[in-house]
Subunit: 245 residues, 3 copies
Amino acid sequence: MLDALISADILRTGIEAILTLVPEARFRILEEGVVSRAVDPANVAMVSVELKKDAFDSFSATEAEVGVDVNRLYDILKMARKEDEVELVIDEGSNTLKVQFSGLRYTYTLIDPSAIRKEPKVPNLELPARITMKTDDFKKAILAGEKISDHVVLKTDENNFYIEAEGDTDQIVFSLTKAELVDFVPETARSMFSLDYLKEFVKPISRSEFVTIHLGTDYPARFEFTIADGRVKVEYLLAPRIESE
Amino acid sequence: MLDALISADILRTGIEAILTLVPEARFRILEEGVVSRAVDPANVAMVSVELKKDAFDSFSATEAEVGVDVNRLYDILKMARKEDEVELVIDEGSNTLKVQFSGLRYTYTLIDPSAIRKEPKVPNLELPARITMKTDDFKKAILAGEKISDHVVLKTDENNFYIEAEGDTDQIVFSLTKAELVDFVPETARSMFSLDYLKEFVKPISRSEFVTIHLGTDYPARFEFTIADGRVKVEYLLAPRIESE
Amino acid sequence: MLDALISADILRTGIEAILTLVPEARFRILEEGVVSRAVDPANVAMVSVELKKDAFDSFSATEAEVGVDVNRLYDILKMARKEDEVELVIDEGSNTLKVQFSGLRYTYTLIDPSAIRKEPKVPNLELPARITMKTDDFKKAILAGEKISDHVVLKTDENNFYIEAEGDTDQIVFSLTKAELVDFVPETARSMFSLDYLKEFVKPISRSEFVTIHLGTDYPARFEFTIADGRVKVEYLLAPRIESE
C-alpha cells in the first residue's frame, strides 16, 4: 500500500517534528501524501505533519493507517546522509515497513494503530495576531529565556513582537520591530508558554528559514513552518500556561 | 552611572577570567574603566581584571561599586556572537544592570556589594624569574601534567623553563629553551602549584597569544596576559603548594 | 634496547588497536620491528599488532620483551598532533620508556612482563570466505546493527556479503554485491558475533581505507587491516556467538 522514494533529509525532519511530542504515532497514508497528527501525553501540545505527494521523488499509495515507532525510525534515519534517497515500502497485506538507503535495508514490524492514541481533532481557533520571523531569532529568544526561567510570555503591541522571560532576580526581553519581522499582523495578544515544549520545537523549526506564530490572549498558539519548498508542512499547537498573578 | 558599548568577545573573556575563581564578584566602575579583583573561597588564588576605558567602543561612567553574579552574566554572554556589540547600562539610583545585544535585553538585579567578599589587596611580591611563552605551549604542558598528577612544578635554570608533573610510576617534563621562549629572565626559581587551578586558568589564558609568568622559589606565581591589544589586562596570583619531601 | 622515531599517527593507531581489548600488554621488541598480541579477559577476541621496522622513521633495537600500560600511553599520545614525530627510548638495563614529542618528555616505568598475561598462540584456522570492503561500509553496518541488537550475523552467498541484525520487532540487513566489494572469495559462510566487540574494532579499523574479513561457519572470524602503506598490520580474531535456535 506504499512504495515511495524521499530524500533522507526531508523525511527526517518530518519524523523529528513528531518525535518532539510522542515516541509512537499513527500515520495516515493517502493518495495525496502522508499525514500524522499526535498529542503529547500531558495534552499540552499537538503536532501535525503533512508530507505532500510532491515531497516524494516517487509516490504510489493506497489508503491505510499504520502505527510507527518514530523513535526507532528516527534512530535509523540518523544514519543516512543528507543526500541519501530513502525507499519506503509497505506491502499489501503485510505488516512491515521496509526502509532502504545506501545498502541498508531496515525491516520494521508496524504497530497496530488501534494501540496508539487516536489522532486528535484540530481545534478551530481564532488567533488574531500573526508573526513571521526568522527561525534563528526564534531559537535565540527561546534559548535565552531558558537560561533564567521555565516559561516565556509571547506578546505583541502595535509595532513589536516580544518574547519575555522572568527569573528570580532578572528578566530577558527579546524584541523585534515590525521592520525586523518578515511579516506581522499586529493585533494585541499575550500568552505564556512552557519552555519545556518550546525548546523541543526549536530543533525541527530550525530546519526552516522562517516560522509563523499565530497568537491570542491566554490562548493556545500555533507555530507553522514548511520545508522542502512548502511540500512538507509542520504545525505545532501549544496550550498556554496560566499566569499566576 | 554606566553606559558603555563593548565587543561581546572582549567582555566575555574578562568575565570568564573572574568566573574561574568566584561565581559572584565586586566590580569597581571608574572614570578610566572597570576593575574587578577576587580571591577564591580557599584563598589559594587571586584574579584581577582591568577593562580600560579604551577597551570599550564607548564608555561613560561615574564611580560606583556593584556586585554581579558573574556566572549568570557569562551564561547570557555566551549567547552573543563574537562580533556582537554589547551595551551595558546601570542607571543612576537604579539597582539593575541592563545588557543588550542583537535584539536581546537582559535586565539583572545587582547584588549588594557588601554581601560579597571584600576586594583583596594585591601583595607586593619579589618574583625574580620571568617567562613569556606561547599560550599554546602553556596549555599543552598543563593538560599533559593533568594526565598523571594533580600538581606541577614550574622551574627555571639558566637556559630553560620546565613544567614537570610526577605520577606514581611516570613523569612528564615539558621544557622550553631560552630560544623557544618569547622572553626569559632566567633567575633560578622553583615552585609547585595545584593543577586544579592551573587547568582553570588555561581557558581564559588561551584567548591571548602569550602569557607571562613571574616565578620565585616556594613562592606564589603571577600569570599575566592581555587581550584586545593590551586594553584588557588579566592577572592571576596563585599560592604554591608545599612539596612533601 | 630501543631508540626509535615514529609518526604520532601511526603509533597511536597501533596502541589504540590493542587498547580495544586490554589496558596493559606485552610488547616484543625485535630487530625487525615491534609486535604485540593480546587476548581480552573474556577470551573472546585476540588482537595482533605488528609495527614493522620500516613503519619507523628510524629504528635501532635489541631483542627484549616489555610490559606497557597502553591505556596511559594512549592518553599521552592523544596530546600529540598528527604530524608530530615521537621518539621512543628504552635504555639498556633501565626499566623506563621515554616518549618525547614537541617539547614534552614523558618517562614511564615499564611493567614487569611476567605480571601480564602471556602472549596467545595464534590458532591456525581454515576460513573459506574472504571479503574485502571499504571500512566506511563496515562502520555503517556495525553502527546500524547496534541500534537494534547486541549481535550480528556475517554471512555470504554466491554473490553477496551480508551483515544482519535482528531486533525484537525489526531487522537490519546491510548487503554488498560482489561488484560493490573490493575483493570477494565467495565460499559459503555464516557466523554470529557480539556487537560489543565489533563496535570497539570500528575505531581502529576506520584508520584504514579497507578491511579484509575471513569468515567460516559458526567459527571465529579474522579482521585484517593495514595502515601506513602496509608497514603496520593489525589483526583481530573474534570468537563466534552460538545462535540460540
